[in-house]
Amino acid sequence: MIEAQLGRCVAAWCPGATGVTGAAKLSGGASQETWTFDIVHPDGPIGAILRRAPPGYGASPGRAAGLDAEATLMQLAHDAGLPSPRVLHVLTPEDDLGTGFIMQRVEGETIARKILRDEQFAKARPMLARQVGGIAAGIHGLDVTKLPKLRQMTSTKEIADLDREYRSFGWPRPVFELALRWLRDHDPGPSAEVTLVHGDFRHGNLIIGPDGVRAVLDWELAHLGDPMEDLGWVCVNSWRFGEIDKPVGGFGTREELFAGYEAAGRRADPERVKFWEVMGTLRWGVMCCGMMQRFRQGPDHSMERAMIGRRSSEAEIDLLRLLAPREK
């Protein structure tokens, strides 16, 4: 059914397109879905991705920027020469596909364990940290006046959000309390410069090929704030997938990340990055607790949710390694 709808949709804006084939859902919760499909075209198939909230799920929850904002940000990133898919079409009510957009499909890998271990990425790995630094600088350098409407965050607000969320679970976690204390005591305050922050800049949201990063995905958590947040988040231990001595995504050093960032004309602040790494580690822990909550209360009673709930202790050990390292 979706192929017929997509076929009508693409015919309206893609000259020569005669339909679509191979539509398959890649991921989807109740409110947001990602589909892959090929546009049938006389010049050969065009790989495409649909990201949408199905009809009836218009509003985006809490922290989400919204699909329209995501489309605009991806297009801005693409136009600025950053690795980002081209947005082909923003859905209209006539499409009857809900809200969202269609973008070019970029081939490559997003699964961290493959990127960190497979031979085909061996040549890319040593350059990834630097490259990721350059891309972050590009994102932070996008003209703020051209951005869609986004929520504005500060470290102080983020601490308060995490505190409230943690308390809502009603499950005592002394290590999270310790982290919240540390964050309050080390809160650097508002950053001198407020920029676009990707908000979820890590493995899973980077399409990587043997030649390096090909696309940055998932701008759902984009906001305005301290650019060092993105650099701290990409260093969170959980995104190293076992390669714990390579803080940047398990593939590189902070020095390489900062060098790439600075080569693109921006200054990194290692102290603030460390602060955001602690914040990010706690955030991941709180997200795991949220998964447990949704597993227990929500309609999605999946084993995966339950098991992510049991990953909150990994955030605790990572917080202790950051805040109370043991003498070796």
């Binding site: 231990n237 084993m303 990994e314 050990i317 109370a324």
Partner: protein, 126 residues
């Protein structure tokens, strides 16, 4: 008194059956889900084996740190409150050791293959 086999023996038997007899027959997304299911049973087995000992030791440490008795939940809530208020911190004798031991005991059940856990286990010789 409940009869044998024990819960641990039962969960182990199910996990072994899924791992050895069913895994080779399943592919695709269901293979992924099967792996998650096996991991889940293994976690339950570890918890059933280890929880009694680690809970007792945690209770004893908490009673010592806080100077009070109570259920494990209440003691943890009290510790969390006092850390939150700043009444206890990393300079408090025994606090860091307690948080570390408690966290290591959780990882031993939740994710004994987590790299940071294995590193800490190695550096302290267990």
């Amino acid at each position: 008194m409940q009869d044998e086999p024990t819960p641990v023996e039962l969960t182990k038997a199910v996990a072994d059956f899924l791992r050895h007899d069913i895994t080779p027959m399943i592919s695709g997304h269901n293979a992924f889900k099967l792996r998650v299911a096996i991991n889940m049973l293994d976690l339950v087995t570890r918890q059933l084996t280890q929880q009694q000992g680690s809970d007792a030791a945690e209770s004893a440490r908490l009673a010592q740190l806080l100077g009070m008795q109570g259920s494990l939940f209440d003691l943890n809530r009290e510790l969390a409150d006092r850390i939150g208020k700043g009444e206890l911190d990393l300079t408090t004798p025994g606090l860091s050791e307690h948080l570390w031991q408690t966290t290591m005991d959780k990882l031993a059940v939740d994710q004994p293959n987590y790299a940071a856990y294995k590193r800490e286990l190695g550096s302290k010789g267990g």
